[in-house]
Amino acid sequence: MKKVTDMHDAEFEHYVNKGLKSLGYAFPETDEQMSVFEKRIGTHSLPEEFQSPDFVFNNERKAPIISFQKQINETAEKNWAIAARDGKDIPDDILAKMKTDRENARKKRNGNKQE
């Protein structure tokens, strides 16, 4: 028996690696991990469109999701702002203030244009 507190960093990383794969946070890669995972897998109903394997024979491969790439860019924008704060997350009240400031600035700009 070996306690977590007695593990070296590399050993702990190995432990976390195998453990998270067994829990399904990453793909199980060994039969042992898969056996643990299969007991936890739960229920998800297969969508109607996948009841038959016809799409396989038509080789209808899916391309990467475009909106997912867009989401990455939006997240990146937010994270540059976080990076500028030494990696600390922006508190909700500050985010709300930033949003209000942006809206006020936009209103002001639009007001100036109308004048």
Binding site: K2, F27, F55, Q71, N79, A83
Partner: protein, 220 residues
Amino acid sequence: MDIELHKKVEVLTNYSDEELFLLMSYRDENEMEAQKAYTIFYHRYKDFLWKLCCFICSNCKTPENEELAKDLFQNTTIAIYTYGHTFDPKKSKVTTWMSLIAKRELYQLLCGIKEYRIDEQLEVLLENEVDEKSENDFEFQSHEQKALQTAIESLTEREQEVLLTYIMYEDGKKQLPPEMRQHLLDKYGTTQQNIQQIKSRSLKKLKDHIVNHSKLSIIK
């Protein structure tokens, strides 16, 4: 249904996974037979594979988890039909092998790789990964599962994604493939050094959480 055909389907239903894969591998010579074999295999494992895709994608930090799960399922089932001949029952059970195929497919989807990788390369990767079956695997007790789960849930979204990406895709030298590294850098608008620091910090937080919240020990 034609009695002979019905008998044939019945016979195939009793085939083992390996026998079905063998029939699939001759699809250039007998496509109809290969498709029948795959149909039986598909119905055997479709629910398992869908659950696997949903489970893994629910941990991906994207608002389109269900769409991603569908794309992953679709591409994985196609890859299984194409690469069935790489399955070796001496190395792993079929669900483990399917999990490795799905892992490659998610990588392709997340990294925006539109062109499918060279067949031979995928075969080598699959063989190597299954070969990595660890001799150091430990018995993972239920109380340990719970402790690790609460520990991972204590991390921020960014820490979770960075750590899980490393766990999922890093190589033997603890390096990420270039596309996946770029994916993280683009998403979090940061440097490689900072990403590695996030990983180290996350591991330390996990360890602290486990030590503080349980009297965990593992059997080696």
